[in-house]
Symmetry: C2
Subunit: 348 residues, 2 copies
């Protein structure tokens, strides 16, 4: 197919990630001939900004994908489950930001810096990983290649924007309420998020872990393509608007000194090393907001094991953690001429 | 000596922890015949509340401890270094909340629930551990006794009150500035703390760790009395006013299921288990503020190793993390008749 006539749909165009997807397509000058904004009937008719003008949001229906080459979905799991198969059936390649298709064996789960090669076997639906997983694998993959990571212990410090626009407003509202001597009322989160730390992200599973924590376990293995890689996670929401931070402890097969790890990471795609404690240089959520890179710092030897490292990984959860990664997948599909759906009946 | 005539000094009485010490002495009805509030010359003459009335703050001098039986210090490391020996020389037992004496072999480092027995060999100066260490060892000691902990990987989520009154004001001021479209100006912390996560607490050491992180490593070993216990830590400041949270991963020699760990912790002194994910019951900084207990929840099996557990430990860093622990040490000294200094020349 001709790239000159490329038609791209953004599904969930009015949400925090949808808007960022449009902004990212624009900023990266993605070669779309036409961009269509889709959302639920409730949002149809709304305007969203794009390339100096506006797009009028259309209602998402089963028939929305006729003539569409590529659809970036960010509209929640149930919407993806229902509509992504209709897109694939219409020959439209889906890059889906929900968790609906991530662990489906028919769908590659892709972070371009890590496993762009998995795009070659896509079947029409490609999954975008969870935000906290993306930034972690961007930083861990080069270290895995250099020294083989055996085990990861990660604790996250996640921003409210990961939950969406309503959670951003909730944090802001609660802070205003508290500063006006009012009792904050939690709506999006089970408890007050302002000036608190919530050790729950998403729902709890039978094993006592949250779904968010198990996403980090399973998605990391799938993206890295190494079933022997073991991850244990604790996912925590903190009162930060943008930027997820992660305290990551790794055990490797081969010895890697902090200096060697810094060299490996400095050369790695998508990574920026910020690691000079003497000058108080380390990654922070506030600095990462609005940036494309995954920032790594506080790299130091874990002296409790033979081959261990601690590090601090920070990225903008809305950009690299969602919108940017989806657009990078789309760019890679274009570059490698991987648009089009071979078997349009697979997801029916 | 007679408990009826007990004279107690609080050194640094105008600070956040000093005030909490006075409040704690009052709340626990500590049997002091007289309480003296001491602080730097700058604060002399100020009034601090105690038992419905006020104490007039006196200037701390080398001669402040004549006739004083017990001094609770919370006035910074250099003040402790200078004045605690004068107290000990005067026969006054010091419980010091700074880091000055913690690793000194002449000084026991005590968390009463864990190693009250170490008070028996005190030489006049007893050290109160670092806040983030105290709550961790309260929770880990019973598990160590039950299954021997070999390795701890901890990531902290620490409140600004741990830095003192000025940091509490800094967070509040920065939030107000941001909500009024002003650029916040960091003074206490190197960077903005509002809506950010700072992976630096205290200064950096040569090995790339912060002093706070190394305190957790060394103090845990000294309090638990087990040099084979290995700890690696990442200490992070988050925009919370009161209550430190900790994501703690342990590897044990003996297998301990989450259910068994819950039973052990439920019976442990100073610990309250809050662990029912189905009902969204887990510890949170906001709930721990103002409480005496160390709260433990999110206890679950770490499936990446044979004998591993993850948990979430929360306590009020000003109470159990500082003032309460110091007063509990004082209470234990009284109960066990351990006041008085045997060798008043030791620290000269």
């Amino acid at each position: 197919m001709s790239k000159e006539k490329l038609v791209v749909a953004v599904v969930g165009a009015t949400g925090a990630v949808g808007r960022e997807m449009l902004k990212t397509l624009e900023q990266r000058d993605f070669p779309a001939h036409e961009v269509i904004a889709l959302a639920s009937a409730r949002s149809a008719g709304m305007k969203v900004p794009y390339r100096g003008g506006e797009l009028t949001v259309r209602e998402l229906t089963e028939d929305s994908f006729a003539g569409v080459d590529l659809a970036l979905f960010s509209a929640g799991g149930s919407t993806s489950e229902k509509y992504a198969p209709h897109a694939a059936k219409a020959g439209c390649v889906v890059v889906d930001n929900s968790s609906a298709w991530r662990m489906d064996k028919r769908c590659p789960l892709v972070v371009p810096e890590v496993n762009a090669h998995d795009l070659a076997w896509h079947n029409g639906i490609i999954a975008n990983p969870n935000c906290s997983t993306i930034q972690m694998v961007v930083a861990l993959k080069p270290l895995h290649d250099a020294a083989r990571i055996k085990r990861v212990v990660v604790s996250t410090y996640q921003a409210v924007s990961g939950t969406g626009q309503k959670a951003i407003e909730e944090l802001e509202t609660q802070v205003r309420q508290l500063f006006n001597m009012q009792q904050p009322e939690p709506k999006v989160y089970p408890y007050q998020i302002a000036f608190n730390a919530l050790p729950q992200i998403d729902v709890f599973m039978d094993n006592g872990y949250t779904k968010e924590e198990m996403k980090m376990v399973h998605e990391t293995v799938k993206i890295m393509g190494d079933p022997s890689l073991k991850v244990t996670a604790t996912a925590v929401r903190i009162p930060v608007f943008y930027g997820h931070s992660e305290s990551v402890n790794i055990e490797t097969e081969k010895k890697l000194t902090p200096a060697e790890a810094r060299v490996v990471l400095t050369q790695a795609p998508g990574v920026t090393v910020l690691d000079n404690p003497g000058e108080k240089i380390y990654p922070m959520a506030l600095d990462a907001a609005g940036e494309d890179a995954t920032f790594v710092g506080r790299i130091r030897e874990d002296e409790t094991i033979e081959n261990g490292l601690n590090m601090w990984i920070v990225a903008d959860n809305i950009r690299k953690g969602a919108a940017l990664n989806a657009v990078q997948i789309a760019e890679t599909l274009l570059e490698r001429d991987l648009l089009g759906v071979k078997d349009t009946t697979l997801f029916q």
